[in-house]
Symmetry: C2
Subunit: 188 residues, 2 copies
DNA sequence: CGTATCATGTAAGCCGTTACATGATTGT
DNA sequence: ACAATCATGTAACGGCTTACATGATACG
């Protein structure tokens, strides 16, 4: 039901068509939730059937703009307040971290350096988003829509970036002090 | 294909039955990847058909112990080296962060304090795992199986915990200085 | 003798991806 | 005229959850 709630959140800010919402997922919500138009269109139809949103009459080119209803807003608040957050993980990056020891040290380090770079860039991107947000809302309003989520992203991505650097350095250091002795699957 | 790779990683450490692997997911891999027996049994059968694992003859009570093959180990390394990590997010916690402004300040703060507590506990749990790992391997070997992943978890969860505290404090502070003026959806 | 745990499976259904498919409008 | 972008859908398939289903062994 998270897609549904994400759509309600976006529509609560501003009405929009399936097309609009698809783009908003690609932009502001990219670091939070991901969805394609092929999932969004049918879900909006179901939400309309359930009375959580209403559709305008068709606009320019078959364009149909949805707005959130009172029932939709109630459902959104209910989910946030009463539904237990799902904390069970399924994290590609963490799985790779877990499995990394099966790689020879140089391959492992290469992977980690690439991760460090990717997450550095993600942090930079989110910092730009925050800067833009602070600019629009005039002086850092921490309760602005998306502001809290962006801050969370910066901290999470930053943590991964720092971890990747730390891990790569650890492995490099071990390599040097142990000389050409052993490195794991390479068989010394 | 991540479930497949996770299973290969576990079997690379030690052979085991579907039942064993289900428990190992619940224990060591809980913070990394999650899977039920209903998913694991058929996947092991498919992996055996593909030659990535082999099954012993049936043991005590229909128990069938799987071991990784050379092809399995090759597939594991190939995935780690050559498959592009999937970084697109779908994160319940981040979605809640994004939507949080729709809640009245007291509800938002209550949610954040609960998150802070939950993630504090997760960090403590992982720190215990690391302590146990360091104990077994005798003096911190950062390349041990699961050691890197545990360290990553500690940092990620720690980041979320710190964020939750920060966010709750921000909202509390804004509440106090603005008096009973406004809080968002409560209509002043 | 009954309960807990070990042990394995299958089926229905939801959520999400990839790919297929179509057509209107705007700008060059 | 043609391309880009706007705009909406559907179908097949894969991954995962929930629920159903069965039976063996150990322990008290």
């Amino acid at each position: 039901m998270s897609l549904r709630v994400a759509l309600l959140g976006l529509l609560d800010k501003q009405p929009g068509s399936g097309y609009d919402l698809t783009r908003r997922f690609d932009q502001g919500l990219r670091h939070v939730w991901h969805a394609r138009h092929s999932q969004i269109y049918p879900e909006l139809a179901r939400m309309a059937a359930d009375g959580l949103v209403v559709a305008d009459d068709e606009g320019p080119r078959g364009r149909r703009v949805y707005s959130i209803t009172e029932a939709g807003r109630a459902e959104l608040r209910r989910w946030l307040r009463d539904v237990e957050p799902q904390r069970s993980r399924r994290d590609d990056g963490a799985l790779r971290a877990f499995l990394l020891p099966v790689l020879a040290a140089p391959d492992a380090v290469r992977h980690l350096r690439r991760e460090e770079k990717a997450y550095s860039e993600a942090v930079a991107e989110l910092e730009q988003i925050v800067a833009r947000l602070d600019d629009e809302t005039g002086e850092a309003d921490p309760r602005g829509y998306g502001r809290l989520a962006a801050e969370l992203g910066i901290r999470q991505y930053g943590a991964v970036r720092d971890w990747a650097r730390w891990a790569a350095d650890q492995i490099d250091a071990a390599e040097v002090t142990e000389g050409s002795e052993q490195s794991r699957p390479g068989e010394p």
